[in-house]
């Protein structure tokens, strides 16, 4: 029989980055304890894993690193419940576990040869960052057309991946648009809500796909903008979150209609979501 899917893979926290001013969002870099586990952990952008803290429990979190980044996994986690609070109090060098990769992933094959618009809000930029770094990877970049990113947060201090945002801004093969609801004294960038910015830059729907993640309110106001631009529901993708335990479609709590977000999702096109019940 294959590996026990309930058995966490041993990893070690090797780097912790505090992402935001409020200090409640951190990125954890985890390195595999065993070389063979690293080789067997084959994932794609958009997948997630159960972060496993013995004695506390598990929490399902999207993988924020890209499979092109070898030797480690990264997860950006907000301090919220029992497991994530324990995680936030951990130090570098601490052993923990990971179960995964779980779920499906962003439609990489479908995105090939197309222009890709990435829209993210708040700290829901984690698996989008994975996708972006995957597409920007030297050997992959030519497989995709124009890449446009709209990323917004409430304030400058709440933007995550600040160093990368600076690096991405220098690239000529990427149209990066970072915005904040309201800037501060030091902010020289754009101000405005994500839907408004999307409307202003008006990416063409010609041979293009939008991938969107963010708070429900942002998604609600952004989708009409993309419909107006001519994007069909087949060409807009998002990722769902639900309470989960097993991650393999058994424990029964993350279903939307007959689909389990943990194994049939988390990535769905709007066309697919239309066929499901609105219970999420």
């Amino acid at each position: 029989m294959e590996r026990n899917p309930y058995l966490p893979i041993p990893v070690e926290v090797v780097k912790i980055t505090t992402e935001v001013d409020t200090k409640d969002i951190k990125t954890f870099r985890l390195a595999f304890t065993k070389k063979e586990d690293e080789e067997n952990f084959k994932y794609m952008p958009g997948q997630f894993a159960e972060l496993s803290l013995y004695g506390k429990g598990e929490s399902p979190i999207g993988i924020a690193s890209s499979p092109t980044q070898k030797g480690y996994l990264e997860f950006t986690v907000q301090r919220a419940g029992v497991v994530t609070q324990a995680l936030h109090s951990m130090e570098e060098g601490t052993p923990m576990g990971v179960r995964g990769p779980l779920g499906n992933y962003w439609p990489i094959d479908y995105l090939e040869g197309k222009n890709v618009v990435i829209v993210g809000g708040g700290f829901a930029f984690t698996t989008l960052r994975s996708l972006l770094n995957y597409m920007l990877y030297e050997e992959n970049r030519a497989r995709f057309g124009d890449i446009t990113v709209v990323y917004g947060a409430r304030s400058p201090g709440l933007l995550i991946y600040k160093d990368e945002l600076t690096e991405w801004a220098k690239r000529k093969d990427l149209n990066l648009n970072v915005t904040v609801d309201k800037g501060d004294a030091g902010w020289k960038g754009r101000e405005g809500f994500v839907p408004t910015v999307c409307k202003e830059i008006a990416p063409s729907s010609e041979n293009a796909v939008t991938v969107i993640c963010g708070p429900p309110i942002m998604i609600r106001f952004t989708l009409p903008v993309f419909f107006e631009l001519g994007f069909s529901k087949e060409n807009i993708y998002t990722s769902l979150e639900m309470r989960m335990k097993c991650g393999i479609g058994k424990c029964g709590r993350c279903n939307v209609g007959n689909k389990y977000v943990c194994k049939d999702g988390p990535v769905f096109s709007l066309a697919e979501l239309d066929k499901l019940t609105k219970e999420y």
Binding site: M1, E2, N4, P5, Y6, L7, P8, P10, L53, Y54, G55, K56, G57, E58, A80, G81, T84, T94, P95, M96, G97, E241, M242, R243, K245, C246, I248, G249, K250, C251, G252, R253, N255, V256, G257, N258, K263, T277, K278, E279, Y280
Partner: protein, 342 residues
């Protein structure tokens, strides 16, 4: 398939013979209830009973089970032991055909291609199931024939016993079942008369199931009516106690929690229920199912639509436990029947 005859007075002895070399779980009286329990040395199984109060899924999918053990060390928490690989060969005796059929339904979920559950699969593969057919269905609440079952169904059984009146016809249906025959030694082969009697009983037992509900017939309505005023009418008296899901042979939802005792810890899987608000409560405060209406709809949809979509079978075997034990008399048969009239 081997078909043999077991004299009525010999059945208890044959079960005891098995119990001498491995654990046999069988119906026994516990207080006022018939429940499954391990037959301790020399103890005889109950042979006359309606059905057990608890569903036998507990054998493969225990109400609480340890998945992993871990230890607090100087370095932090470390894995000590994976609990797989410890299941022993057991016999499950006296399972009613509705309950035996629930194993087939649970198999389709826990032994699903690409998403296999090793704990369940291991116990299931090491268990030999001896079913006892319902020549006379035990309760008026029995409705197995409406959801794909039959009172003398062989589904999920390794051996099926059918009461022919003066003796049992024993059908050894699988290689696992035939292994029991080796232990039992010479049992007389079933003759044509016994076979003819069984054939008569098949029709008779089926006709004895008087409670009928629409089964797959309501799926078309469910497909189209996630939003419908009818859903506002079914949950009002529900106490959200979860009894229906705990006694259900096919309900399989579970929670996973960690427990610590000094330096020793374990990760435990335990039954959970879609009837509880906490089941889907997210840390953010968001809950996709905030009302008992939504939870009842989920329970019914899961059994009569989602499971049918995913595994082409209704996730209900018609045992009637939820009907018998609901403290406020909510009757799933009535709900389903009402839906068929909408």
């Amino acid at each position: 398939m081997e078909k043999r005859i077991i004299k009525k007075e010999n059945l208890a002895g044959l079960v005891k013979k098995l119990a001498a070399e491995r654990t046999v779980y069988a119906p026994v009286m516990e207080g006022d209830n018939v429940v499954y329990a391990a037959l301790e040395n020399g103890k005889e199984p109950l042979l006359e009973y309606g059905n057990t109060k608890d569903a036998p899924k507990n054998l493969f999918f225990p109400q609480a089970e340890t998945l992993l053990r871990f230890l607090r060390t100087k370095r932090g928490m470390e894995l000590k032991e994976d609990e797989t690989g410890k299941a022993k060969e057991v016999v499950l005796f006296g399972v009613r055909p509705c309950d035996a059929r629930s194993f087939v339904l649970l198999d389709s979920l826990f032994d699903q291609e690409n998403w296999k559950d090793p704990y369940y699969i291991e116990r299931r593969s090491k268990t030999t199931v001896i079913s006892k057919g319902c020549v006379q269905p035990p309760y008026t609440t029995c409705f197995c024939t409406s959801v794909g079952g039959h009172p003398l169904s062989t589904e999920g059984a390794d051996v099926l016993l059918t009461d022919l009146g003066d003796a049992y016809l024993a059908e050894f249906l699988t290689p696992k079942g035939e292994k029991l025959l080796e232990k039992w030694g010479d049992l007389p082969k079933a003759d044509d008369a016994a076979e003819a009697k069984k054939k008569d009983l098949l029709a008779k037992a089926e006709s004895e199931i008087k409670s009928k509900i629409p089964g797959k017939e309501i799926k078309t309505w469910l497909d189209a009516n996630f939003e419908h005023p009818f859903w506002d009418t079914i949950h009002k008296s529900c106490l959200a106690c979860g009894t229906c899901t705990y006694l259900c042979p096919t309900c399989h939802c579970f929670d996973i929690t960690d427990e610590m005792k000094k330096e020793d810890g374990k990760r435990v899987r335990s039954w959970d229920s879609c009837m509880y608000w906490l089941f889907t409560q997210e840390t953010s405060g968001h809950n996709p199912r905030t009302s008992q209406k939504q939870r009842w709809r989920q329970r019914l949809m899961h059994k009569f639509k989602y499971f049918v979509d995913n595994f082409d079978a209704i996730a209900c075997v018609g045992c009637g436990r939820c009907v018998m034990y609901c403290p406020v008399n909510i009757d799933i048969r009535k709900i389903v029947t009402d839906i068929s009239k909408l």
